[in-house]
Symmetry: C2
Subunit: 252 residues, 2 copies
């Protein structure tokens, strides 16, 4: 089992969209995949068709000690399993930070699932706080969805600092798996400039596959469908077929 | 003085872009405006041309007790004053939450500035945690930048719950000033559907002015310029002229 944190503290960079559609693509390729939603917004949860308010046992309960196996559910159109974000996850940040062992709660909760899945994707909130730190300690690697814009570029050094800090203290094997360009509009100059900067700084860590801006990707979650089912002939679907293949090439 | 929190826990909805350019537009109309950056990412800070790492006294220091007057600096191209986000603001969430009076730190820090400014805009991080709660208790009203997409619509009920909770406990006058549609691409059906939902639910609270998607707005902060100076004839600049006028009509 390989565990990936999908993280960028910059908001709106495509974390949830990449988590759900990449996980669905790998599941379609026959992999056993779990999506774990640690974002209090619960977008991976609602996009997968699960209603937060009706959820009896989700991520908040698992972080409080309930075995993860009791919270995992299969999501049919996506063909992956989901550990959903519960309604009261928003309160977890302050509550958890008062506990002695708050940093390793998610890691310890996911360990018993090691034989059940090939990949786990943890969809993170746009922050480097308690829940994201939990994800970074539970993960083997980090995938960083990134918009090719000024503010996104600025934020990369903060993520790198946080990963380095956690590697020295809590998770020695943690590394950056790669950077995925998202919502790319290659017609505009800014995106081309930032893309070139990323190639210079990150070399091979920058995925060849970029996810282009495609409104079908923004529409699909409201129908609770992965892009492959909602709009299989769209540019968005083509990007995720390619991304699935590149991911398998790099990590299988 | 009127204080506005610019908040939406959904990431990437245009909070920083609207904070900086609306504040600059009001300053150009002769208003005395302060931008307070409580987002550890510090995008309003870097976009205004201030380097976080060289900052001696910023938001973290002010929340720890340093008088705000000592941290406020004038930003020439924008013609507003800025209370910048300091480097160590990221650590403030956990540190502050251990203090008895953590919720009212920002409110108490801004009170002595009441005679110096007409408007204060607080740029918030994409979360409803400790720093955003501080902003909501310090503010009179909340402006909610909003993308016309599924996940953004989902998140509105969480903000409304948080505002209601704080109104009952800590800030009885807190109200929603308005919702501003951002990055609007009115050609696509999803945006038109969501726009109609917003009109139904929020009526007059929905600003008539929408900020359209315009790459000049994404380029301007890398030049440390407001859109009015960077690309005065762009669609983005036209939107902010209109937004400045609508804002004055509603709140002056
Ligand atoms: N390639 C794309 N093309 C068009 N729209 C996209 C694309 N990727 C994501 N979106 C839309 O952009 C918005 C932001 O994406 P998403 O919610 O996946 O980002 P995020 O990083 O998870 O956000 P947050 O920081 O709030 O968790 C969403 O409304 C989503 O539907
Ligand atoms: N109207 C617009 N047209 C084009 N690009 C825009 C527009 N508004 C914002 N952007 C760009 O979209 C990205 C997200 O906007 P911004 O950073 O202002 O959102 P935010 O809500 O402050 O994000 P965060 O949740 O990370 O604080 C930025 O790269 C910004 O430059
Ligand atoms: Mg998300
Ligand atoms: Mg911002």
């Amino acid at each position: 089992m390989k565990t990936f944190a999908i993280l960028n503290q910059k908001g709106g960079t495509g974390k949830t969209t990449i988590t759900m559609n990449l996980a669905a693509q790998l599941a379609a390729l026959g992999q056993r995949v779990l999506v774990a939603d640690v974002d209090p917004q619960g977008n991976s949860t609602s996009g997968s068709g699960v209603e937060k308010q009706f959820l009896v046992c989700g991520m908040y309960e698992v972080l409080s000690g309930v075995p993860a196996k009791e919270a995992v559910a299969y999501c049919l159109p996506y063909r992956y399993h989901l550990l959903a974000a519960s309604r009261n996850l928003a309160g977890a940040e302050i509550e958890l930070s008062q506990e002695e062992d708050w940093r390793t709660r998610l890691r310890d909760a996911l360990l018993p699932l090691a034989d059940d899945f090939d990949y786990i994707f943890i969809d993170c909130p746009p922050s480097l706080g308690v829940l994201s730190v939990n994800a970074l300690i539970a993960a083997d690697q980090v995938l960083i969805p990134m918009q090719c814009e000024y503010f996104s570029l600025e934020g990369l050094s903060d993520i790198a600092d946080t990963i380095r800090r956690l590697r020295d203290g809590w998770n020695p094997q943690l590394s950056v798996a790669g950077i995925i360009r998202s919502m790319l509009d290659s017609r505009n100059l800014l995106a081309r400039d930032v893309s070139r900067e990323l190639e210079l700084h990150f070399g091979d860590k920058l995925f060849r596959t970029a996810i282009v801006r495609n409104v079908r990707l923004a529409e699909a979650p409201s129908h609770h469908l992965p892009i492959m089912s909602y709009a299989p002939h769209s540019n968005g679907a083509a990007c995720f077929r390619e991304l699935g293949n590149e991911f398998m090439e790099r990590f299988a």
